[in-house]
């Protein structure tokens, strides 16, 4: 499938070992994460456990700890580390010339049914 990339922000706009929220027209926010190696990941900003905003968690290695109950979610696949179980949708990311891009198709199709969290 061909991607239609949409520029979101610069890599520098995301704190190292941190995240930013990307607000969409409708649906839950998307969280973009940056790890210590400047690798960028994007997940739906919603923990599979109780819906906590993952963008607010502590980022380490290639994981984020949910701020509500400390589940560890893999940034790469959006899945909880065992023994917890569950996954949050992931979004394709492209970084080019320091610009972070997300796929427009995905932004307009994944998890739109739920209202944006108040965070």
């Amino acid at each position: 499938m061909k991607h239609v990339w949409k520029a979101i922000c610069h890599v520098e706009d995301i704190p190292v070992l941190g995240a930013r929220r990307v607000a969409r027209q409708c649906g839950t926010d998307v969280a973009v994460f940056r790890n210590a190696q400047d690798k960028v990941f994007a997940l739906l900003d919603r923990c599979p456990h109780k819906g906590g905003p993952l963008s607010q968690g502590i980022v380490f290695g290639e994981s984020v700890a949910c701020p509500l109950h400390n589940w560890t979610i893999g940034l790469d696949d959006g899945c909880a580390k065992a023994p917890d179980a569950g996954c949050t949708p992931r979004f394709s990311v492209k970084v080019e010339n320091g610009l972070v891009h997300l796929d427009l198709e995905e932004l307009n199709s994944i998890a739109l049914d739920e209202a944006r969290a108040a965070a």
């Binding site: 922000c9 930013r20 973009v32 607010q56 380490f60 023994p83 997300l102 965070a119």
Partner: protein
Amino acid sequence: MKRMNLVMVGNGMAGVRTLEELLKIAPDLYDITVFGAEPHPNYNRILLSPVLAGEQTLDEIVLNPLSWYEEHGIRLELGKKVVDIDRKRRIVRAADGTEAPYDRLLLATGSNPFVLPVPGKELEGVIAYRDIADTNTMIEAAQKYKHAVVIGGGLLGLEAANGLMRRGMQVTVVHIMPWLMERQLDDAAGKLLQKSLEERGLKFMIGAQTQALVGGKDGRVMAVQFKDGTEIPADLVVMAAGIRPNTELAEKVGLHCNRGIVVTDTMQTITDPRIYSVGECAAHRGIAYGLVAPLFEQGKVCATHLAQFGIGRYTGSQTSTKLKVTGIDLFSAGDFMGGKDCEEIVMSDPYGGVYKKLVIRDDKLVGACLYGDTVDGSWYFKLLREGRSVHDIRDKLMFGESNIGDTGHEGHHKAAAMADTDEVCGCNGVTKGAICKAIKDKGLFTLDEVRKHTKASGSCGSCTGLVEQILMATAGGDYSATPKKKAMCGCTDFSHEEVRQAIRRPLADGSRLLTIDGVYRALEWRTPNGCASCRPAINYYLLSTWPKEAKDDPQSRFINERSHANIQKDGTYSVVPRMWGGETTADELRRIADAVDKYRIPTVKVTGGQRIDLLGVKKEDLVGVWRDIGMPSGHAYAKALRTVKTCVGSEWCRFGTQDSTQMGKDLERALWRMYAPHKVKLAVSGCPRNCAESGIKDVGVIGVDSGWEIHVAGNGGIKTEVAQFLCKVKTAAEVLEYSGAFLQLYREEGWYLERTVHYVGRVGLDHVKKRILDDHAGRKALWERLQFSLDGEPDPWFEHDKATVDTRQFIPVGVA
């Protein structure tokens, strides 16, 4: 790359656990072959007794079914006893001639029962009690015969006797020592145990010495004969007089053995570094362990070395025994017999079937023996391991941790009496049934595993004793042989204390460790940037050890301390402005009311700390709310000074003896912006009626006519802990100095996320008194260090740059 060959001799619990650990971290390194002398896959040997008693079936105690071996591509040679190892050509050979080459060899041969060298031991109907075959023999015998004699009144013997009795046999236990289970119990507890087992129908011959087993014409045993010439009838004799490490094979091939196969801290045999050994057959630092937890610990270490990570050392375990003999609770640990330089605290209620003995030497708990009520076993074991002085809690020691007002599990302290639907863990809503199910389904053995899978006892920890009892009853595991020190997290083997000391110590070139990365490098962290447990802790240790030098790292703080507000379950935040001493003004209230309207804040609540909480604020609005309200941060979101609660005091109250409100305001102004290992709450009451509830605060000040009393380390939380009296002082300035010095001591010595009550519980109030009351210069220095730390600290709600608040977080990135 060609895979290496790993061969394991022995197919028991310790060995297979080692393979499981290895497959987790290095799934593709080896082709694995396992030889097992028994024709069964790995099963839970500890649960043979319930099988014998008819409470469980053999299928239920299998830990790794055959499919598990298949899934992991393990070649399994069942029913094949390894009889030789060619260490030069690196080949093992089984009795039937089956061979397997190895690059690494793991000996996990377990132990053998000790068979008394008496005439007649070869007769039919005389067996040891060790494996599934023995268990089946006993079950069959119980259907045909009447009289059973068990030789040995230790744990195994009593379990066998109980099982046989449950299957309808008349059972006599012969025990040569003066009381039952003499290695785990003192005479009083041993006799209580005997009485209770006699009531259930077992017979005992205590002190009797077996001379011979007498056979009948059919070649089957018919009686047991004693030294004094008497005989008792016996159709079945079970030898349960102890076990010996099975070192036959190791000795044969020249591996050094001394009460076990001698291994190093990496679980390698000292003779041949290609050969490892774990489990009951291994002798580590002179000890061959027979309990599950230390053996699993060994397995973990062994796996990291087999995986060629070259990390991890096994340094031995301190063990306790918590035995479950058919519904009778026993616990013992350490030197429970005592001696002439020891003191004993004893509580005995023979009618109620409860007996407790605590052994104290040099003000330290060195041993404990509990019968009938063991819920405090883990607490005693902790005190024993930590070796801290119990001088200050001596009067309460016997009554246990559970009697100081636990909340959350309705005062249950006997797991056996609980129904499956009863809640064990009130924090996480976990029932007894859910815990039992997880233990059985997932094959859990240790407290840590139960916590991970069920979350039970993982939050406040006050139900730990109950969870351990359930674990004991369900898995038969011994949960408590935890290492002496606890690693900070999975990223390191260092404890909180060791990390703190490393940060305090200057480096070789005289410089200081000032960054988290620096700490990780210096202490060889296993992960590149830690985890959500260690990073906040190290950030705190750096800031509290080197104020003004170490730089705060907001990305290593929990969200609340990064956004300076409390995250709520729906992802919104709450805002609590500071109200000095709980006093406010019409002006402040008006600004709060306006902000509530302007930002449509759904809930406004008065807090227990005499402040106002605005709940449901959107993250985007936080900066605006702070600015509009114009009051300082209340730090209600931080591991820091929260409130100083006050009563109205002598200014208005007709009973007030001191101006508590002013004292509270002064304390709060002196201490605010103080980060600490955990949250800190203060209170000041103007008279002993104590309307500000000073008795349950980290520092509680109570005005009396002649001055102020200072109480410390109280807690109104999970476990209501009454603050302990520290001292009485005359002036307000002294209140500031003594309270501040205590809090600075806590800041310097407390472990991250340890409240003052736990900190003082760990170091002892005597230590605190020595540092604060006896050492005047030291107290002043502590107070000065605190003032130095707090001097010029920014208010994060207004000085964003100085407080390193990343304001980008308040604005989402938009998708146009």
